[in-house]
Symmetry: C2
Subunit: 259 residues, 2 copies
């Protein structure tokens, strides 16, 4: 490519599976083709951390690697903590791009609400960094990430050539089964998790509940959704924002409040 914006752009990378997960190592290797890379990632798996922050405990930064192209740090915090520490304490310049992942497991549909991978992406978006989360639809630690390579390369190249619209970040999910048919821009599918706990009895004979269950798609036939795209072997891209306002409902809520 000849029209990369800077001769050597800077990419910030994080994830929620921890700094030594296979997914983040794959993502880092791809990003290094295009940019200097700074990795700031949790020191252990922090899946399901959503946008959680650590308000009252000390956060520590551990340097893992430092050379001309790659710096790598771990943090004893959440993915969102990692982005905040990167921006305020580690980086000397604003990154051109934040990449999060590649997550081990889907973050489609409402999983975006629980996802630490996407929590970091939303934090980047709030801080006006073009931010993209990648997830492979396989939870296996040793999942085959090779299906991700061309997608991550294409999107990273595009995002460095032409920045994302202000305030928009991307939730990209990649099917794990075979070569994807293509890429679809989607909306987040409606749904919820059901039968969520496995009940066991601990060594003190006390009931202990372990999160489990499965996703119930409430929109299974809507081809505009990310779940449909993934079920039909497409990569799904949901453009997201950090505004939770249900703007269209404001007149209805006005009436609800003042009937």
């Amino acid at each position: 490519m000849t029209d990369i914006r800077k001769s050597t752009p800077l990419i910030l990378i994080t994830n929620d599976d921890g700094f030594d997960a296979k997914g983040i190592r794959t993502l880092t290797q791809i990003a290094l083709q295009f940019a200097k890379v700074v990795v700031v990632a949790p020191d252990r798996p922090r899946s399901g951390q959503s946008g959680a922050i650590t308000p009252h405990a000390p956060l520590y930064i551990t340097e893992l690697e430092k050379n001309d192209r790659l710096q790598s740090y771990s943090v004893n915090g959440t993915p969102t903590d990692c982005v905040k520490l990167a921006m305020h304490e580690i980086l000397n310049e604003k990154p051109d791009l934040l990449l999060s992942g590649i997550n081990h497991g889907s973050n489609a549909a409402i999983s975006v609400l629980y996802s630490g991978t996407m929590g970091a992406v939303f934090e980047g978006c709030v801080q006006h960094i073009p931010s993209i989360g990648f997830s492979l639809c396989s939870h296996l630690p040793e999942a085959d990430f090779s299906a991700c390579d061309p997608i991550v390369e294409k999107i990273t190249r595009l995002a460095l050539q032409k920045t994302l619209p202000e305030g928009i970040c991307l939730n990209i999910n990649i099917p794990a089964t075979e070569k994807p048919k293509g890429i679809k821009i989607c909306k987040q599918a409606k749904g919820h998790w059901t039968e969520e706990f496995i009940k066991k009895t601990d060594e003190n004979n006390r009931p202990a509940f372990f999160l489990s269950g499965y996703f119930q798609n409430e929109d299974p036939d809507d081809p505009a959704t990310d779940e449909w795209a993934l079920a039909n072997n497409y990569v799904s891209i949901v453009p997201c924002h950090t505004d939770m306002t249900a703007t269209a409902s404001i007149p209805e809520i006005e009436k609800w409040l003042n009937p």
Copy 2:
């Protein structure tokens, strides 16, 4: 009131400051005027937990109180865990209303993204329960919650009389300074947190970072925002949904992907 939907409705209450915070005790006392109440709340403060869940550790439920009108439980998990356990393991019927709070501190603007109070509300919304989060704009543990009483009473009564539109939940913030001028339906203000860490040196001479900083409002003059309402001594109500899709941006992202 004569037109409450059921003779004795059921309200589920949670929070992120922990089961014994003053805010949740205030909220419970008000809810008991209208309904049977089941409290399922974290066993300790879990501020800033966003929509975090606990995927790999055992969750335990501790019964604190049980009588005809009020059942109260603590859980060693996040606010979202509390809602999931309430729905799947504690309640025998779907609640008519979920109330979260009253949070000690504002959850206006982008604080909604980090808020455990609102994490629980979003979980309720995903599970099709009318769900409302209340926050008082004071972080003091012994804050005066009396300004909240008429607001929480009015909203709880309304929500039991006429359910919220499907898929819409409310983020309600209440100014702490004086009697509010009124209630405004708002949108979430744009902004970000800045100067976020206090750096200290721990006993091993290692740098330790503590989350701090202040909110930078990027929309200070927009009277449609929650921050403007609160700064002008109004209660702010932001109708929220759990769809993160930036729907209006889809055509632009299509062009970005296929230039």
